[in-house]
């Protein structure tokens, strides 16, 4: 599906210049986003195609909701940066009271603990740009550079939540907050692994071709680039969104075909999962990874992403719950507890299934086919003994016995090969979920710590560590965090339902085929014996 765009200003095409005239308010379809030079190729409702200035239209990657403000284009993503924006949750880019700071470590609330013993400091808000933020995990939430949102290097847009229903699963009731989803779901194909080398062939590596469905233009990436992307996404979104690990690094045997194929499959699954996430898929760093134009573009984008300060809990500052009331503490706690219980239980369930699956895999590739092989050999052996009887008229029996024996040998091979056909995807999906679920304890930990801090707020007010107004802001922000967690859980549930439906269907389909094929083979073997 092609992306739609809304025309923001009238534009009149210059004749003979391959341009398309558009009117404000008109909806057009982007047919090529990669024209460059500030132009897009688009098609209007009458089917006419032509070039339109990028700045004159608003591309809508996350739905049809219009967001106030001007449009400016980044290198590749069509992101909205608001000139002056204050979110409904109370975030703004003015030098707001900086309550939630993270100095270092992974706990965004560590500063509170520090302050509890050493006095509350508000100075971080005024900390100059470029100071220890980003990669080390230190991050600022609710604060940024002073005054101007332009200076804010976040995801470039508020991550909006709205109370939409899930579109994948029939759902008669409201599921609660959900992320705003793009009309067209991003996806990409990871394929065509090629051996590359550098330093005059001294260093070899495998390069994968990654082709997004938006541009249909392949870009090349090595595993280490995926790893770089993972680190960026983890830094940037890890507090709100589980970012599953990449498939295992491996040094030995990494040029073996089997390994490359497996890694590619897992990178594909990881990328697809990231593409399916509305927040991640529309982020600048992710778009850079998928659609960089050339080496220079890639390097510049990398540098920019590495300097991104909207990392850690700062991600919550970019989230705007839309048209929903603030949640009270009790509700937040209940939701958090519910998610904690669920993810823990599912983690156990998934691990249990994985253990069972691994054992079944072992049996299916080890003793079981050996046994079928031995049954097959025993029949064939008996057949050749019978053949040596010197008794006339048993060719039918010995042929049938040999055929039956061979059938069991075929079954042995089928049994041994079957796990790759069915158990494999079940295991891969569950492994993916194991990875995802492994991220939740931290996400939920951040959440729980925030709850504790809000619970302490009264004491902080009493000891004049914070003002009553700051306490209100804290609660408001916790409400946003909760909405974010709920949206993420809903995203998780939605995709979980889809994934498990799909993988179970796949598994059972292959299982049915497997047993049907065996039955068919045995039916044939049976037919070769004489009916007397």
């Amino acid at each position: 599906m092609l992306a739609k765009a809304q025309v923001l200003y009238d534009f009149t095409a210059e004749p003979g210049n391959n341009e398309l005239s558009v009117k404000e308010g008109e909806t057009i379809t982007i047919t090529n986003q990669n024209i460059g030079g500030g132009w897009l190729e688009a098609q209007n409702s009458r089917g006419e195609i032509g070039l339109v200035p990028e700045d004159y239209v608003e591309v809508r990657p996350w739905g049809t909701h219009r967001v106030k403000g001007a449009v400016c284009s980044h290198s590749h993503t069509r992101a909205l940066v608001l000139e002056e924006w204050t979110s409904s949750a109370g975030w703004s880019f003015s030098s707001d009271a900086c309550l939630f700071l993270q100095s270092n470590g992974n706990d965004p609330w560590a500063v509170f603990d520090t302050n509890a013993s050493g006095g509350f400091s508000n100075n971080w808000a005024a900390q100059p740009e470029g100071t220890e933020t980003g990669r080390t995990g230190s991050s600022v939430w609710g604060s940024s550079a002073q005054g101007h949102p332009q200076a804010y290097q976040g995801p470039g847009k508020p991550l909006r939540l709205c109370a939409l229903q899930s579109q994948r699963i029939e759902c008669t009731q409201d599921v609660g907050p959900v992320w705003e989803y793009p009309e067209t779901q991003l996806d990409c194909v990871v394929a065509d692994p090629k051996k590359g080398s550098k330093m005059y062939g001294l260093k070899s590596y495998i390069e994968y071709q990654v082709t997004p469905n938006t541009t249909n233009k392949p870009v090349n990436h090595r595993y280490k680039h995926f790893d770089w992307l993972y680190e960026r996404l983890l830094d940037k979104f890890g507090s709100a969104i589980p970012i599953p690990c990449l498939p295992d690094k491996q040094v030995t045997g990494r040029f073996e075909e089997e390994f490359i194929k497996m890694r590619m499959e897992r990178l594909q699954a990881w990328m697809s999962r990231m593409c399916r996430h509305p927040v991640i898929s529309s982020s600048e760093v992710f778009q850079l990874f998928l659609t960089y134009k050339d080496e220079k573009d890639w390097k510049m984008g990398k540098r920019k992403a590495e300097k991104d300060e909207t990392v850690g809990v700062m991600i919550f500052s970019t989230i705007e719950p839309e048209g929903v009331p603030d949640l009270d503490l009790l509700e937040v706690e209940q939701k958090c507890e519910q998610f904690s219980r669920f993810t823990k239980a599912m983690d156990d369930g998934v691990k249990d299934l994985l253990t069972v699956g691994q054992e079944h895999w072992k049996r299916c590739t080890g003793p079981l086919p050996k046994e079928y092989q031995r049954i097959g050999k025993a029949f064939q052996n008996l057949s050749s003994v019978f053949n040596s009887s010197g008794y006339e008229g048993e060719a039918t029996l010995t042929d049938a016995l040999t055929a039956a024996g061979k059938t069991y040998e075929e079954i042995a091979q089928m049994v041994a090969e079957q796990p790759r056909k069915d158990l494999h995807s079940l295991m891969e999906t569950n492994n993916e979920y194991k990875g995802l679920l492994g991220c939740f304890p931290e996400t939920i930990g951040v959440h729980k710590a925030a709850i504790e801090k809000v619970k302490e707020a009264d004491k902080l007010v009493a000891t004049s560590k914070i003002t009553p107004a700051e306490k209100v802001t804290m609660a408001k922000r916790l409400s946003t965090m909760s909405y974010s967690l709920q949206a993420e859980m809903n995203h998780f549930h939605n995709h979980r339902i889809y994934d498990y439906n799909r993988v179970m269907q796949l598994y059972l389909e292959q299982q049915v085929k497997f047993y049907e094929t065996i039955a068919e083979k045995l039916r044939h073997a049976h037919s070769q014996f004489t009916t007397m």
Copy 2:
């Protein structure tokens, strides 16, 4: 199928007496052999039914070949005893030169060894009746009481061999010597095990009902009666025919339903195999077991059978190869070697299959269903975790997951129960054959010892231990033994082909059903997931 009989003498029915007139040479069908009082009920070709004197007809239990001589009736079997008969192989019931004697032990040729050191004795031929013969395994071959065949208490008829083709298996070539088979195959049903007691309830036992297809009249037997029959058959036929052991004796748990059922099934298989053997099935002792009239009849028959002197190698004296030339030593040796190799190889093959089968049985009833159960539980567990998500709209998934889980639990049960349905009969048949094959080394041992003795014959003639005429007789008798062994092997092969065809069909049929049922169950489980 009803037995046919040939009318030996004209008989004119007395009016109003329910009799049937018959003419010499006419073929009639016996409709009731158990009329008693010297009468049979028979039907002629025009469909008329009436009574005919037993002595006027020759019932043909082993085919249509007419045997010269008069017909006399034993208690229940319709056996031919020839008034004066000399078999083509040179056996006769006159006081023939007694060359082959067995004094004691199982080696019928032991006397030669004894004589080699202690002088050759011909005296055994004149040994009075009732002297140490029979049960202890000592037996006389080629000798019997003097002069009169009436005194000979053997199987009551010569066991005839003829070069018939197998009737079971399409066979384009002559298979060599075969036993003469009855037109109607004897069979019986072992059923209805009942607990009986004696000594005022102090001793309990299980009594089985045995119903032969000839009389359709059930008789009762305890396991110990079967065991008695086994001992009689082993004594009488063991040198020529493999008599497989009975199912294991068991003292503890022998009143448990499962055990009784299993023992009954095995007694049935054993009885059916005995019934299928033309020599055994037509023997007096076997007929007594199946058709005794009352307790007195049974006891008398038992006493008679226990006194039977035609035991051990004596059985060969009752075998008459029909219309075939004597075999030379080389041929005899070659055949013997061939059978020895084959039975050894088949014994190995059968044991191998049994080992494989036992392991498969263990896996099918042990770890495999446990694994399917665990898979089933893991799916159901995941389903109940999903159910606790609080997310709306996943009832379809959780229901389907539960159903899939239950399906795998059902499969677990199916897997565990399957061996009883298919592997069981395969194992039982192979166990039967293991038992049969275990008898061959002894049978072949008897044969090989006879070959060695015939090889030594020249030396014996040279040292005047035997006359040249006796040497010729020895060779002739060895030829008969070889024909007997060949007939037995052909019987074995014929039934082996039938049995393995049948059991493999049964096995594969059940296997097909098993896999089809699983596929069907999984197809149903699959259909419950949403197609998206």
